[in-house]
Symmetry: C2
Subunit: 340 residues, 2 copies
DNA sequence: AACGTTATCGGGAACGTTGCCGATAGCGCA
DNA sequence: TGCGCTATCGGCAACGTTCCCGATAACGTT
């Protein structure tokens, strides 16, 4: 392998390791000629400082851990994209952990990250996670933590999220403006932060337009497979039937669309549909699907920037806060106003 | 932070560090009672061995580098999913690098991975990469390397790919069976391995059915934005017009579908369309799109398994080989046989 | 002439862990 | 009694790097 060390250089040039070390870092107390010699020789041998030795000495790894439910998911893969870009520019590398929506694996991943000595942690909570004491304890021990997307107000940490309330409010109002009155809301487990914020936005829009909130129109998914069909059936069985669906995720939006198609309901004639999503093929769906776009990449970028600030400035960094990144509503055919 | 070391335990228990070390690893030459004491104390203090110190000592990092063009891409995010799952079970962590389809960044990423002292490298080549001497040199220095998906026969390394030839052959034959004769092929840069294999499968299917290969029906994309529309236009301007499109990637398939829709061509009545893709929403597109499914996750899993074998058994591992994972053709509405 | 200063470099410890080599005591056996 | 063996443990070096403390010589200053 590659193994040229500072010792090799020292031996070859008949110098001590300390001199070589200082020459390489350009210390002022090394003779210019000596510096040149060392630099040239190091260059010629393609010397690269060993980051592991550095880590041991400085007690830091220049690595940040990223814990997400799933990589193979539009939102998270884009967020990781943003994270990676910033992190590498700042000299950190990114270690990925997946929880697969399991609380248990989240805890295990967290411990793994700790024993890997990551300098900081970026976390999007699993859907099973309601208790965050594991994170609070870690934070109390001094580990910099930033939450993104799936956050928890139980934790006094910086949190970076889409403006879920506003996004949901706009989506719901958009449906109302297009003439719908019975708007169903398909969402994810109720104890999750994003669920509550989106639900609140949904309710606020209904209220603003004088539509009573009907809890029978709200269904909570569990990330299980094949669960969307029955939920949609159940909602459609009501009388009067819902005339619009507002879904809270990529997965639910696609599943809902499939379920509606299977049941031969015309979109947007029979029901309208709008999702909270990042799918870049939403435009190509049948019909083109209206969406509230979450700025996944930007969320990742902002989150990692805050984390690095936390790592490098420690107690001097900005106090914990909640950062909301605006969403964008894109109206397409699935929510077109239908004139009778 | 967490910092309990083997020294702390030794001091507290009035033992030497070596004894503690051996007790922790269950060495036979340590008194059972002493072992118990050490184990219990370590447990109580939540001792975790410092992997950085281990890495320095053993000259290995228990990390594998994964270099891909893009994380935010169906295929690669699923592949990384598979990689992550296996790697963690085997005690390795995964460090992600993105080339963004740039040769230059690929080289830089490779160097970064090396200076991070990864134990092995998993690479899917950028579309710009035609020269692989940077990888060959690294390999010559003893770094275990496994290529996946975007591979190169210039490198004597284990390569894990989808069965591109067979997949393309089946897709083309499927189009022929559905009654098409002028089958256009939208693909990616010609020097890439997957391009050539898919093109060969396409040609072989044409030949088998007595259809002359027409190079005017083949177009090579460059991963640039908004390039698909003009390519499609150009193809459609021919006389006679193509009656089917076979695309070589997720991006091209979606772009082609959008372009055809924009030009008001009916699918499958006017033209058929089949893609090489992993999009799980292909069924929801308009119309539902036929696809050749690449087993992304399995490719990742197999690749990382081979890499770990290479890392741990070194010269004793299996010699380099090309492993082909079968694809699956899913016929949907976009290639339905149209009766005139 | 004695001293302080400056420029330039080396020695050694330390980060946390493991492994080699020894050291000690207790014991059995001839 | 003396020898060797086993069981049990400690000391030390090493991995690659940085940093603190000295060391040395060549000066200038009083």
């Amino acid at each position: 392998m590659d193994n040229v060390t500072i010792k090799d250089i020292a031996k070859a040039l008949n110098l001590s390791t300390s001199t070589v070390s200082r020459a390489l870092r350009g210390s002022y107390e090394i003779n210019a000629e000596t510096k040149r010699l060392v630099m040239e020789y190091a260059e010629r041998l393609n010397y690269r400082p060993n980051p592991i030795a550095l880590s041991l000495k400085e007690n830091r790894s220049r690595a940040i851990g990223v814990i997400v439910p799933q990589i193979a998911n539009y939102f998270f893969s884009q967020a990781i994209n943003g994270i990676e870009a910033i992190a590498y520019n700042r000299g950190y590398h990114v270690i990925i952990f997946q929880t697969h929506e399991s609380y248990e694996r989240e805890v295990v991943n967290m411990q793994q990250a700790v024993s890997r000595r990551v300098d900081g942690l970026l976390i999007s909570l699993s859907s099973e996670t309601s208790d965050v004491t594991h994170l609070r304890e870690l934070q109390d021990q001094g580990m910099p933590i930033v939450l993104f997307d799936r956050v928890s107000s139980e934790l006094n940490a910086t949190q970076v999220v889409a403006d879920n309330f506003k996004g949901a409010f706009e989506a719901t109002e958009h449906l109302i403006w297009s003439g719908r009155r019975r708007i169903a809301h398909l969402t994810i487990p109720p104890y999750m932060s994003i669920t509550q914020e989106r639900l609140a936005g949904y309710r606020a829009a209904l209220e603003k337009h004088g539509i009573a909130y009907d809890e029978n129109l709200v269904r909570y998914g569990t990330f299980g497979p094949d669960e969307v069909g029955p939920m949609v059936d159940d909602l459609l069985a009501q009388n009067p039937r819902p005339d619009a669906f507002f879904t809270a995720s990529d997965r639910l939006a696609a599943g809902c669309l499939g379920a509606l198609q299977k049941r031969k309901l015309r979109i947007p004639e029979d029901v309208a549909l709008i999702g909270f999503t990042n799918m870049n093929v939403a435009e190509l769906l049948s019909p083109p699907m209206s969406t509230v776009v979450q700025p996944a990449q930007e969320i990742g970028q902002v989150a990692v920037e805050r984390l690095i600030e936390l790592i490098e400035r420690k107690q001097k960094a900005a106090p914990p806060s909640v950062i909301k990144i605006p969403t964008t509503l894109i109206a397409r055919d699935s929510t077109r106003t239908v004139v009778e």
